[in-house]
Structures are given as C-alpha cells and as structure tokens.
Amino acid sequence: MEFPYYPLNDFGPAMKGMVIGGLGIFHVFLAQFAIGGGMLMCYFQWLSQTGREPAAREALDGYFKFLVLVSFVAGALTGVAMWFTTIQISPRTIGMMVEEFHWIWATEWTFFCLEVAAGYAYYRCGGGLADRARMTLLALYSLAAWFSLFWINGILSWQLTPGGWTPAGSVWAGFFNPSFWPSLFYRTFAAMSIAALVACVVVNAHPRLSLGERDALIHRAAHFLIPMALMPVLGLWYLYAIPPDSRAWALGGSAAMTLFTGVAAGASLFVGLYALIGLNLQRVTINGATATLLCGLAFVATGGGEFVREGVRKPYTVRGALFSNSIAPSEVAELRRVGSVTRDPYPLRHPQAYPNDQVRLGAKVFRFLCGVCHTMDGANGLVHLAGTWTLEQLRLNIAKLQLTKPFMPPFAGTADELEALVQLISWTRAGRPEDWPLSNEVPTIVQIDRWLQEAGIHPASQREGKR
C-alpha cells in the first residue's frame, strides 16, 4: 500500500474548518436564495397573470435583476470556491466523493446549464414575452435550481450518514441515505424563507410601487414563510437520522457545537415567530430595516446550521470511510507501524525555526495528524487546550486520543512520533527557546506504546459499540 501524501498548507491562526465553514455559509445562503427565489417568482408571475396582484409583475422583474446580479455571479463562483476550498483542506475527501458520485455531479451540471439558460433568457427577453412564456422560463429556472439542491444534497448528506452504502455497492444506496429526505425538505423550506425575506427587502426598496402595493406584495411573499412552521419537526427528524454520537455533540456533548445549534435554532425561531404571528396572522407590515434585520437573522441561522453540519461529522469527513485528517480507518495500523510521516515527501517549510530534529519530526506529525482541526496556538490551539498538562498527561491523552475526546480520530503514528509531538507542544508552550533537549528515554517510549495499544486503532464510536 502506498499512502497518498499531499502537501499540507498552514492556514495561520485560522482553523481549516473555519475557512470552509465560513465560505460554506455564504454559498449556501446565496444558493438557497436562488432556489427559493425561483419559486417565489413563479408565484408572483401567477399572481400577476391571474390578475390577483397586478403589481407583482413589476416587483418580480426588479427582484429578478437583483437575483441575477447576486446569485448568478457570487452564487456560481462561491460554488466553485467551495470545491476549490475542499481540495485545499482535504483532497482525499473530495477525491473519494468525485470517484463515487461523478455522474451525480455531472447530472447536477446539466441542471446548472439549464438554470443559466432559462435565467438569462428571462433576464434579456422576459420584458417582451407573453405571460405563458414568462411562466415557462421561470418554472424551468426554479426547477433547475431546486434540482441542483436535490443532487448535491444526496452527496453531502452521504458524508455524514452513508447508510447502507458500501464502496462496492450501488451509488443510489449512498445517495438516498438516511438523512437525505429530512435535509432536502429542511433546505427547501429554508430556501423559501430566505427568498421571502429578501423579497420583503426588495419590495420595500422598489421605487415604482405604491405603499398599498408594497403592503399587499409583502403579505403575499410572507406565505413563503409559512412552511417554516415545519422546520422544527424536520430538524428533529434530521437529528434522529444522524449517528448517535454526532447527535450528542450537537446537543450538549461539545460546547461549540451546542452553541451553534442553539444559535441556529434561536435565530430560526425568532424569524419563524415573527413571520407566522406578525406577518401572516396579525398582518402587521414590515419595513425595509426590519426586513434586512430578519435577513441577517436568517443568515445567522444558516451559518449556525452549516457549522453544525460540518462539525458533527468529526472524527470523519466520510463517516466510517475517511477520518478528518484524510486517513482511512484501515490505514491506521500500518501507519502506526511504519510511522505517519516517514514517507511524507513534503519537507517542513521553515526547518531552521525548530531547535532539533525531534521537534522537527513533531512538527511534521502535527501537520499531518492534527493540523486539519487544530493550530498550535491560534484557533483550537493545542498550547491553549493542553496548556497546564504535565508531560505524562500529554502522552497519555494523545496516545488515547479517541478516548480523550470521541470526536478525534485514533492516533495514527508511532510512539516515537508521539513523543516528538509532545516535545513540540511543550517547546511551543515554553516560548520556543533556541535550545531544547532531546527526549529519548526508552521507558517513556515503552509506556507510550502500551497506551497506544490500550487505546486500539478504532474510533471511540466503534469501541463503545463493541462493548
């Protein structure tokens, strides 16, 4: 077996997950805006062509310009950016996904093409078309946008809940996985809500609509917020579908994850209550500032949700198949034997910055095994997390990494590598002095080895399952 080493960049004080999470929020928000926006425009077109709301046509064309400027440009490019970022952070993960799902992605691409064609046809010519043709273009546009969600949703939900999928089995077993339906519905309703909130902003800002027209249109748009009432149920269905350990992180097991879950739920609840009670039941109206604020809250909810979705996969990027640090569970034993970085062809970037070869080795081990989730002294920094630990505690807790925190993968290196990592941590903790002694006591290594064996090579969720 030859392990596929990739060069690993240092993201500075930022955690790699933060980078992808941050970008993901933008992209998901824009994409959901495009999806919900398509549906909303169909609704507005229908309102106008059936004479129910003649001003809807005017509002619709204003909304569409906005959608094209924002979503066609930034939405499409942040999508490519998601891909590129995933490559930066975990080429093996994206490689595995592409290998398994390339025809799904290729299918999604045909829908992108339709989305662009229908969207631009409407954009350029919609003004001069009869109602039927306008409706057709808008329907094709929103259908294409929604289907792009349908396809990508299967791939992303597979990462957390592969369900009955096996590498040799059917691709559809992975695609229609246990969290496919709850997350598809959830995202569809989220998309409708975002579109409705943006509509409130756009309608308010529309110069050619009278106050009465604005009011009427805003209450029409608010109908798209009604499905939000189902989102708590869908959220629970989703939580029920994901693995118990992931569910536990989101609901108290990890402070950060629980916080994000709370933020997402709280922001959604606020928007939902305002929408249901204020807009739909009491028929209060909403001005541009409030609408913008609600959009902001929806963005926060999307953000919280995306962080949780990215976060609860730990210690995997593909559940059961690939750990977050791009090591397959089946490779851990071999890497423990030969060493995790023994064959890594990529040198350290500033080798002279380290006091000796042992610490240099530690830096390579850190880069390979821990760098996806930790920095040394920035976000989720090891020096802060283990700042007060004794050397013994460091050794024990890292050797039993998956037991220290169940959302970490098992340590996949030798005892010597582990000791080198411990030396790196304590050298950094000591303020990076120029001289640093080597630590090469045989009993230490023997003890680490014993701890490694006690911890075993399986992740915590599987160990518990076995007991």
């Binding site: 691409w109 229908a118 010519c125 919609g126």
Partner: protein, 375 residues
C-alpha cells in the same frame, strides 16, 4: 500507441478522456469570447479612431459589451464539467498543483467576481456615454482579471505535470511556478482565443444585422484583421511551445495517436486563414463563409485540445491513472446523467426558442438597428 487518440488507451480511460475533451471544448468557446472579447474592448476604446466617442461607430464592441456577462457565466458554468472530469483523470496531480499554489490559486475566485461586476459596469450609462478612456480602463481591468485566471490555469496545469518539482516548490513556500514553457503556452492560448472570438462575434453580428440595409464594412474588415492577427500569433506561439515539448510528448504528437490531430489543427488553421482573408477582401459575412470558418475553428481547437491532453497523459505515470479510471468507471449513475443531459439540452433549446419569440423586447440588436437607421 498505434491508434488515433483516444483509441490506444484502455476503455475507461478513453471514455473519460473523451468526455473531458468534449466538455473542455465548450469551456474554450465561452472563455475565448470572454478573454479575447475584453481584449477587443480595451483596444477599441484606446486605439485612435477605434471608438471615436460614439457608440454607433463601434457596433461590434456594442455586441460584445452587451453579451459579455452572459459569456462569463457560460465560461464558468462550462468550466464545471471539465473540472469534474479532470479530477477523475488526474486526481492526484491536479489536487497537488492546486494545493501547492494555494493563495495564488484561490485568488482566481475573488478576481473573477471582480471581473464579473466590471463587465456589468461596462454596460451602464455612466460608462457608455462617458469618455472612451473610462470604458477603456474598466475593460482593461476586466481583461486583467480574466488574463490572470487564464494564466493561473496554465500555471496549475504545468505544475501538475512535474511531480519531481512538488516537494521543492512546497519547501520553498513559493507563490509562483515558473518554467520556460509557461509564456509560450500562455501565448498560444491567448492568441488562439482571438479567432474563436472573432468567429462567434461574426455570427452575432450577422444575426443582429440580418436584413438591415446598412452594414458597416469597416467593422467587418476590422474583425477579419483581428482574426488573421490571432491566427498568425497562435502559429508563432505554437512553434515556440513545440520547442519545449519533452521527447515523450513529441513522440505522442508525431506518432499515430497525435499526428491525425496535428493535421486537423493545421487544416483548420488554413481554412480559417483563407476565409478571413476572403472576408477582409469582400467585407462580407455571408453565412457560407462563417460556416466554413466555424468548421476550421472547430478542427483547430479540437486538434489542439486533443494534443494538449495526449501530451499530459503520456507524461504522467500511466499504470496508476488507468487503475483509477477503471475503478471510477464502475460506479453507477451514467444512465441518469445521459438521460438528463439529453432532456436538459432540449430544455435549453426550448428556452432559446422562447427567448427568440420576444420580438417586442428592446434587445441589443433592435437598439443598434435604430441607432444605425438614424444615421
């Protein structure tokens, strides 16, 4: 390899290579329009007599400006499919080059977003009715954005082909990958996009002005000259790039697998050169001429794209790649893709049919016709 590309490869490899080449061709079409088109816009704004302060003297520029955001959307969307196939074909090499270039590579995304909005800016009245230099500088900024993007793809491509250079490049923490082949290759691409853009623009021009009594001959001549200059430059860059090819690559180009395509590319080049000379002489863009030039351009671009691919795949370790393609070819989903490919292509066609029915809309053509009639 004793059969023309892609027949000499194992079936799964040949299969993915074909999809890759076909989808890349679509990308090249749109991307050429964007890159060479913004270049054209820069030139007409700055060259004496090019823009001459009034937009109806430059109907070609007007069309370009009008369609440019759509073309960029097209280039991006069409880029997604080859982006998918390149990951199956050359997984590790492609990813490694991406990661090694890191910030440099990721920069193409904000740069493209900026370029996109600059294209919209080119269409607003403050620019179209302002002094030519205003539009010129905006077009230049956009052109730099797209040039940077093209440069990045070339740099990434060349870096992906040199596994031996990877660890050194990483250790040195370099931002740019420099190699002698970079400039001629980039020149080849930059020049090669010009005739493709001229052709697409020629068609648009033809369709826009169909049936109008007044067709400005100086615009047609200028278009022909631009195309001819592009052809000439691409020939020069092609010869330059050829001198950097490795022996293995040369073997491919001159062997049974590559030679037919080299021939196609040359024949296509000759056809295009002959047609654009005719266009220049007669100041006419008859559909027959445009059709022949289209055939020529297709042959040239197809030939060059295949050669580009052959050169790459013969320079990477074959065994591991073939195994990967074999594995990938066993996953399901292909019938679903083909079904939706056909269905969605038909629906795209329907969108175009619907859009063409919109007679009363103030489309760009109508707009221009009014202007010209008034003259």
């Amino acid at each position: 390899m004793s059969a023309p590309f892609p027949l000499g490869f194992p079936a799964p490899t040949a299969f993915y290579l074909s999809f890759y080449v076909l989808t890349l061709l679509i990308h090249v079409m749109f991307m050429s329009y964007v890159l060479a088109g913004t270049g054209y816009l820069v030139a007409v704004h700055f060259l004496p007599g090019g823009f001459a302060g009034s937009r109806h003297r430059a109907p070609l520029a007007e069309i370009l400006r009008d369609w440019m955001p759509f073309a960029l959307s097209g280039a991006i969307t069409a880029g997604v499919a080859p982006l998918l196939f390149v990951q199956i074909l050359y997984q590790r090499a492609f990813y490694t080059a991406n990661i090694l270039l890191f910030h440099r590579w990721m920069a193409i995304l904000p740069v493209l977003i900026a370029g996109f909005y600059l294209l919209y800016l080119l269409k607003i009245r403050w620019v179209t009715e302002g002094p030519p230099a205003r539009g010129g500088f905006i077009a230049l900024a956009a052109w730099l954005c797209f040039g940077f993007t093209g440069y990045s793809w070339t740099e990434n491509h060349l870096l992906s082909l040199q596994p031996a250079a990877w660890p050194v490049f990483f250790g040195a923490d370099s931002l740019f990958f420099w190699t002698g082949a970079l400039l001629p290759r980039l020149g080849l691409w930059a020049a090669g996009t010009i005739p493709v853009m001229a052709l697409l623009l020629g068609w648009q021009f033809r369709l826009t002005y169909e049936g109008t009594p007044y067709v400005p001959p100086y615009e047609i001549r200028r278009l022909a000259l631009v195309a001819l200059a592009g052809l000439l430059l691409s020939a020069l860059a092609g010869v330059g790039y050829g001198s950097f090819l490795s022996p293995a690559a040369r073997e491919f180009v001159q062997g049974a697998a590559g030679e037919p395509y080299l021939g196609l590319a040359l024949i296509g080049w000759l056809i295009q050169a002959a047609i654009w000379l005719t266009v220049w002489k007669r100041a006419s863009l008859r559909p027959g001429l445009l059709g022949a030039a289209s055939l020529g351009a297709f042959l040239s671009v197809l030939g060059m794209t295949v050669l580009r691919e052959g050169v790459r795949i013969t320079s990477l370790p074959a065994g591991r790649l073939y195994a990967l393609h074999e594995r990938a070819s066993q996953v399901g989903g292909l019938p679903v893709f083909l079904f939706f490919l056909v269905l969605n292509a038909a629906l795209v066609g329907w969108c175009i049919v619907l859009a063409r029915k919109a007679k009363s809309s103030p489309g760009p053509g109508e707009d221009l016709r009014d202007l010209l009639d008034r003259r």
